[in-house]
């Protein structure tokens, strides 16, 4: 029995020891496989910066970000971007090591390796300080401090640096990981392209593109290059897919203006002439954009979509023409005053003003609502085209004219007192028969304007004039005319009396009657017995 006891003790002890120690070893080993530690080959200077920053706890998260960057992987260390000479505008000595460093790496530093990208960017409107060229001194209305972390934060993307370079690469390429995934995220563009004046991120998220992105985007690997004429690897586009990324036909570009055919952010929409000598005219730019669109869409869908968006831009100009007429007139007749000091004007009847209602309406209809109307139409943001766009513009027109009437303008008074429904369309109209989504059957039986027998002829003459003025391509005019010639089909008028259509129509008409009856009975028909409290 002693023998058995000894054996059992030995086996028992060593079983526990072996299991415990070898399991610990295999757990340690399996944990190693879970690490993705990149091998970082640091030069001596970088190793010293990293050591000291970590020891002193200065911006250590920036080091973590750098360590996961391709820069770290490629042994591009701190001084490769932060090197400086004594005469540099941003030279400073590191307080701990006395090493001379550049505080603000500029596109000039990035250009040492990324020359093509920096050149493309420099030729884009991102780099254009357009907002400083016009008389729009914001300090009149918003104090300078308000602009520091306001306007300046976003518009720094076009900063002209003391070293003669322009731009701020890390606005999109978040330092120090410079992750493509972050740069490609719609919210990166949405840092600035957001809000009442250009709600591009909101428009995008409202579109089918954004809808698919929100549903599936979390599973998309956005860390990819599009420099090799490969197909777009994600199911729906994010902002940069259309404006920057390449596909089989288009090269990738950092010039976001390369694919834009209309200056639809400007007070007047116009065909772009930006850097035509290098980038080509607006038609070339439109071709670039449509060649991206046709990665996913049929060309006829894209052509129809773009033509309608272009007509929205032209329509905007006609609406603006009305506003300009009124603000100019009201300024000339002295109903509204321009701000001025020491012989210099600080408001402009055709651009902006800060105190009188027509000036504010003028400004909003361009800078906020007019852009939403146009940009919504360009990027599938239906709600922005309509409720946040044209609806607000019309509302402002009515408010401006009511104000003018109150302030004694006879013509405005006449407008206010006019009872004809055409009063809301005091400008020339553009239109196109039907839309690209399908063939409606009853939709086009209601518009008031169709009661004018020459409606389509008036519209046609306007579109034709725009085409002859060079604002539409020949192909667009042909497409418009094809729609015009077959407008009964595209407007669905030839189907409006079809028995199949009418059968459905009658069913819904009946349901509508029942609905109306219900709200009449439930809401309008209810009279409460308790008296109200307000006494006249």
């Amino acid at each position: 029995m002693k023998e058995i006891n000894a054996q059992q003790w030995l086996i028992g002890i060593f079983s526990v020891l072996l299991i415990a120690s070898l399991m610990v070893v295999s757990i340690v080993e399996v944990r190693k496989t879970q690490d993705f530690a990149k091998e970082i080959d640091m030069d001596k200077n970088t190793a010293e910066c990293v050591r000291c920053h970590r020891a002193e706890h200065v911006a250590v998260k920036q080091i973590d970000a750098w360590e996961e960057s391709i820069h770290a992987e490629m042994a591009i260390g701190c001084l490769d971007c932060h090197a400086a000479e004594e005469s540099d505008f941003d030279a400073q000595r590191c307080p701990e090591s006395d090493v001379l460093i550049g505080r603000h790496p500029t596109p000039g530093d990035c250009k040492e390796c990324h020359e093509q990208q920096v050149n493309e960017f420099t030729n884009s409107k991102h780099a254009h300080q357009f907002w400083l060229f016009k008389n729009e001194d914001r300090s009149v209305f918003e104090t300078p401090l308000g602009t520091r972390h306001g306007c300046e934060q976003c518009h720094n993307i076009g900063n002209i640096w003391p070293d003669g370079t322009v731009g701020e690469c890390d606005v999109c390429h978040a330092k120090h990981s410079f992750s493509l995934e972050v740069a490609r995220q719609p919210e990166t563009c949405g840092e600035c392209h957001v809000g009442p004046d250009h709600p591009h991120i909101e428009i995008y998220l409202e579109s089918k593109h954004g809808n698919i992105f929100k549903a599936k985007g979390r599973d998309w690997d956005m860390d990819y290059y599009t420099t090799n004429n490969e197909s777009i690897p994600i199911e729906a586009p994010v902002c940069v897919t259309c404006h920057m990324d390449g596909n089989e036909k288009q090269p990738m570009t950092h010039n976001v203006s390369d694919r834009l055919a209309v200056e639809s952010q400007a007070p007047w929409s116009f065909r772009t002439v930006w850097d035509e000598e290098n980038s080509g005219d607006w038609k070339v730019k439109r071709e670039r954009m449509t060649s991206i669109c046709t990665s996913c869409h049929a060309p006829d869908f894209v052509d129809m979509y773009m033509l309608t968006a272009d007509l929205v831009n032209l329509q905007y100009n006609e609406m603006r023409r009305n506003f300009v007429y009124w603000t100019k007139k009201l300024t000339a007749t002295g109903v509204i005053d321009r701000l001025q000091a020491d012989g210099k004007f600080y408001s402009d009847p055709v651009l902006n003003g800060w105190d009188e209602t027509p000036e504010k309406m003028m400004y909003y209809t361009w800078h906020h609502e007019g852009r939403r109307f146009r940009h919504g139409a360009e990027m599938m943001g239906a709600d922005y085209t309509q409720w946040h766009g044209i609806w607000e513009m019309q509302h402002d027109m009515a408010e401006m004219l009511a104000w003018a009437a109150e302030h004694g303008d006879k013509e405005a008074e006449e407008w206010v007192n006019c009872n004809h429904p055409s009063k809301f369309i005091p400008y020339a109209l553009y239109d196109i028969p039907g839309n690209e989504w399908g063939i409606p059957t009853k939709l086009n039986t209601t518009p008031f304007v169709y009661s004018y027998p020459d409606y389509w002829d008036r519209v046609k003459s306007n579109v034709e004039a725009a085409w002859k003025h060079g604002l539409l391509t020949d192909a667009q005019w042909d497409l418009w005319m094809e729609r015009y010639d077959n407008r009964d089909y595209y407007l669905g008028l030839q189907f409006k009396d079809d028995p199949k259509v009418n059968e459905l129509w009658e069913m819904y008409k009946e349901r509508n009657r029942i609905d109306t009856e219900a709200f009449n009975e439930q809401a309008i028909g209810l009279k409460l017995p308790g008296k109200p409290f307000y006494k006249k």
Binding site: S15, I19, S21, L22, V25, S26, V28, V30, T33, D35
Partner: protein
């Protein structure tokens, strides 16, 4: 009716099922086997079929080429439904198989179950340990990440140190001067065909010899026995269920990662073979290579032929037992300590 159906079917399939059942289930098991210590040989026997099943599932997705091996392992781990779980079970069953063979060997050693006439089965068992370590080594290398790539390099380097035929073996194993395309297809073939077949044959031989001799009875237990079925069979089922739960738990809590993709031109700072080679690897780092290899070779020979060497230790039974307990304890402690040092110093 039933009888006649049985008779009819045995005419078509002329195998006596009752006889086979008797051999399989009515084996007499000595009563000491009721003790849990003696169930450790069952463990690798249960783990092996788990490896076959999970291995087959992994083979549906794995592609043995340097360009695609890592990507397919990543695909299995991150994309394929429950792929991480199957891979985790495969990984942990391989680790547990080696640990359980160590435990089983230790039990056999301390109960002196290798003694005459069971010397051959000890040797078969040792061959099974070697084959299991080799199949684990080849399997680990297939993941083709930085750790496994360089472990394959170090591991195959060790093969290259075998006297006389080392270089030949190394070239044959790698199919070139470095670990690369040929190595992967060779390791894959070894891992999914050659070694599983060899292991199956060796397990069969191990059990046939075990059954032939009957299970050895340690001194001091009553000389009674019971039928394999149901008592011992249930014990095996319990061990199996426990192992499945443990494997599933480990696969979920500590799933094997995919590491960084193998980069043949970028040698990591610390390269190591798999942990079950740690003790030998550490020893070879400490002593001159030729001396180290000589000693390792000698130790292997001593372990293989231990059943024949042990009777030479002393004529007195009690002294023989004492010396073998001492040697066994030293060997196990050395294995544990060396493995831990290599684990925690690198």
């Amino acid at each position: 009716m039933v009888m006649s159906t049985q008779a009819e079917s045995s005419k078509r399939f002329p195998v006596d099922g009752t006889a086979i059942g008797d051999v399989l289930f009515k084996e007499k098991i000595p009563v000491h086997m009721k003790h849990w210590l003696f169930a450790m040989g069952t463990t690798p026997f249960i783990l092996f079929p788990i490896q076959i099943i999970t291995g087959l599932m992994l083979a549906f997705y794995f592609i043995p080429s340097p360009e695609l091996a890592y990507e397919s392992v990543r695909h299995i781990t991150q994309d394929v439904q429950l792929g991480f779980w199957i891979r985790g079970i495969h990984h942990w069953a391989a680790n547990l198989m080696i640990i359980s063979i160590f435990l089983h060997m230790m039990r056999v050693y301390f109960t002196q179950a290798y003694r005459k006439p069971r010397e051959l089965n000890w040797i078969f068992g040792f061959i099974l340990l070697g084959l299991t370590m080799t199949i684990s080594f080849t399997g680990y290398s297939l993941t083709y990440n930085q750790l496994s790539y360089w472990a394959a390099t170090v591991g195959s380097n060790m093969v290259g140190e075998v006297p006389l035929i080392g270089n030949l073996l190394l070239a044959w194993l790698r199919g070139g001067s470095d670990v690369g395309t040929n190595t992967l297809t060779r390791f894959y073939t070894l891992h999914v065909w050659v070694l599983p077949i060899l292991i199956t044959i060796m397990i069969a031989l191990h059990i046939i010899v075990l059954r032939g001799h009957g299970i050895s009875q340690p001194e001091g237990f009553p000389k009674e026995s019971y039928n394999f079925f149901p008592g011992h069979m249930y014990k095996i089922v319990i061990v199996g269920l426990f192992l499945l739960s443990l494997l599933s738990l480990l696969a979920v809590i500590l799933p094997p990662g995919i590491g960084d993709k193998a980069d043949p031109v970028n040698t990591p700072l610390h390269i190591q073979p798999e942990w079950y080679f740690f003790a030998v690897f550490l020893f070879l780092k400490w002593v001159p290579l030729s001396v180290g290899l000589f000693i390792v070779g000698l130790v292997i020979l001593v372990i293989v032929f231990w059943p024949f060497l042990e009777p030479l230790l002393s004529k007195k039974e009690s002294q023989r037992a004492l010396i073998s307990y001492l040697l066994g304890s030293v060997a196990i402690l050395t294995l544990i300590v060396f493995t831990l040092i290599e684990t925690f110093t690198n």
